[in-house]
Amino acid sequence: MTTLTGEQTAKKTAVKREAKAYVDPYYAGILLGIVLFLAFFLTGSGLGASGGLNRILVFVEDLVAPGHVNRTPYLLAMAGGEKNPLDSWVVYVTIGVVLGGVVSGWRNGRLKFETMRGPQISNRMRWMMAFIGGGLMGYGARFARGCTSGQALSGGAVLSVGSWAFMFAVFGGAYALAYFLRKFWN
């Protein structure tokens, strides 16, 4: 059981439901492993998240500036001409993730507008960091052809060499910067 948020969030939660503690990480890991296995077992594809966001974004871009999409090879592959960027499995996994998150958050009393941050920084600072970090994540995820779900989890479980190299790079990058950012989180 994690104790990190327990007290703090419990006090803040004003809605009817009491925020429950998170489940044991090993237990969650086993459940996630079964979901990942079923994804491969039933569909042959693993899990994904950033790819779905990518395609939803390209769908919007195609509505706003179809000419630009048709001139950019990377976007063309997803949305050129008659192609529908939403015609891909990963889009529906991504939508499912959001729905699953909402339902679990609601059932466990964690559905609440709040900002999670270290004690030494302001909300506004945290939001800025989240946006910058998200930008790097989005850029890096497309660069690496997959995010933590699509590369590390899925590729890791089926023993892809590239996915394992990728996984060590992610942890390496984060640990390398962690010391310099300790004020933001602790």
Binding site: L4, Y22, V23, P25, A28, G29, I30, L32, G33, L36, F41, L42, T43, G44, L47, G48, S50, V58, E61, V90, V91, Y92, V93, G96, V97, L99, G101, V102, S104, L111, K112, F113, R117, N123, A130, F131, G133, G134, G135, L136, M137, G138, Y139, A141, R142, R145, S149, Q151, G156, G162, S163, A165, F166, V170, G173, A174, Y175, L177, A178, W185
Partner: protein, 411 residues
């Protein structure tokens, strides 16, 4: 035939299949949320050794899924060939991974967890998702400036067992043991940096670890199915096709198929190099019989688009039939054999100069025409005019839907 993965598009229809993905995504999001992955503070704590939930959840799920995947493959329930294995682009993957690592510690999420966080109303999660969208947008606009690097160090479907030269079962066991070792070390770090009470860890985790190791060892002994095992499972069904001559296509059908713009025809000539150099059909690719079962070649065939037809040929049909069996065992869809082989092709399309040099003394599956020089495909019979003659034949090619996913891993 191995029943899984399911041919989803066949069962539910093209768009209906996406409902299955919606359910899988739902379960994924739900589990991420109950694990606490909607909470950036918990995620960031991983990098200060205070709480290694991220490591525990990630590696537990990887080893559980891995053991289940290779166990079901070993017993013939799941076809590993039809599973998406992220192709390796080594350096772009590492550079992208480093950028993501920076983003992880700065922003506190990865893309999947930020979706869950935003879905539960965490404002930092919402800003992160907006950042991800901006980053993705920026990538789409800039990638064409460095596409050479982005497509470099491509190694295809390259797996740890191939890299290490070990059996799949051994690698699975090593990964399980490595993860357990990391959990042990991680718990020690949590106790030192996070002042975590070791008694708060559940006792059952030892049992779970023991079961995983046991299953990994059992399937290390059982082993993954070889080509022979895989062929044995489908032999009766496929031998019947050979006997009915349902997969041997007439030279005329091959010629018409190569000129059909809706179909991609890949001709694979499995003869010896000598014969190939003497004569072959234009665009036929030379892959000797011994090379057909090469994993790189098989995975290349699986990467071909869904409308690809593979036509195997030898001098007669014997070697081509052997190659066909290998492709069947490796679950390559739409594979056919050229009826009568290259000899039959020459008999059908060869001009008098060629056909008069018939050598009746040639043995089985040998080239039965005599060539003075190795002109390869520079004969008119190598690229006959499809409109010159009307050939009567029974069409046999039926495109089957492809079961192997053409994209995965955030495709």
């Amino acid at each position: 035939m191995t029943p899984f993965p399911l041919p989803l598009a066949e069962i539910f229809g093209h768009w209906g299949a996406y409902v299955v993905f919606l359910f899988i995504g739902f379960a994924f999001g739900y589990v991420l949320e109950i694990a606490g992955f909607g909470n950036s503070k918990l995620l960031a704590a991983q990098f200060y050794f205070k709480d290694i939930t991220v490591l525990k959840v990630m590696f537990t799920s990887i080893i559980v899924a891995m053991v289940l995947i290779f166990a079901s493959s070993a017993v013939g329930l799941l076809d590993y060939n039809l599973i998406w294995v992220n192709p390796t682009y080594l350096w772009p993957g590492i550079v992208g991974g480093l950028i993501m690592g920076f983003g992880f510690i700065i922003g506190g999420f990865c893309p999947g967890t930020s979706l869950v966080s935003a879905a539960t109303g965490k404002i930092d999660g919402i800003f992160f998702v907006l950042g991800v969208l901006f980053g993705i947008f920026l990538f789409g606009e800039t990638v064409d400036n460095f596409s050479i690097f982005w497509n470099s160090s491509y190694m295809g479907r390259y797996t740890l067992p191939e890299w290490l030269g070990l059996s799949t079962g051994t690698v699975v066991l090593i990964v399980v043991l490595m993860a357990l070792f990391m959990f042990w070390g991680g718990e020690k770090l949590e106790q030192a940096f996070g002042k975590k009470d070791p008694k708060s860890e559940p006792k059952w985790r030892y049992t779970a670890a023991g079961v995983l190791v046991l299953v990994a060892v059992v399937f290390l002994v059982v082993g993954q199915p070889t080509i022979e095992d895989r062929w044995a499972r489908i032999e009766t069904e496929k031998e019947a096709l050979l006997v009915e001559r349902a997969v041997q296509i007439h030279p005329g059908e091959l010629l018409d198929t190569t000129h059909d713009t809706k179909i991609k025809t890949m001709m694979i000539d499995v003869r010896e190099e000598v014969d190939y150099n003497l004569f072959h059909i234009l665009d036929a690719r030379h892959v000797p019989l011994a090379e057909i079962s090469n994993p790189d070649f098989i995975s290349e065939l699986h990467f071909e688009p869904a409308n690809t037809v593979f036509v195997l040929m030898s001098n007669d049909e014997a070697a081509a039939t052997e190659a066909w069996k290998i492709l069947q065992a490796e679950s390559v869809p739409n594979a056919y054999i050229l009826e009568g082989g290259v000899n039959g092709w020459i008999a059908t399309f060869g001009d008098d100069d060629l056909t008069k040099r018939f050598n009746s003394g040639a043995g089985d599956d040998q080239l039965c025409y005599i060539f003075d020089s190795a002109l390869g495909s520079r004969y008119s019979a190598s690229e006959p005019d499809p409109h010159a003659t009307e050939l009567e034949y029974v069409p046999k090619i039926i495109l089957e839907l492809k079961r192997a996913p053409s994209s995965g891993g955030c495709g």
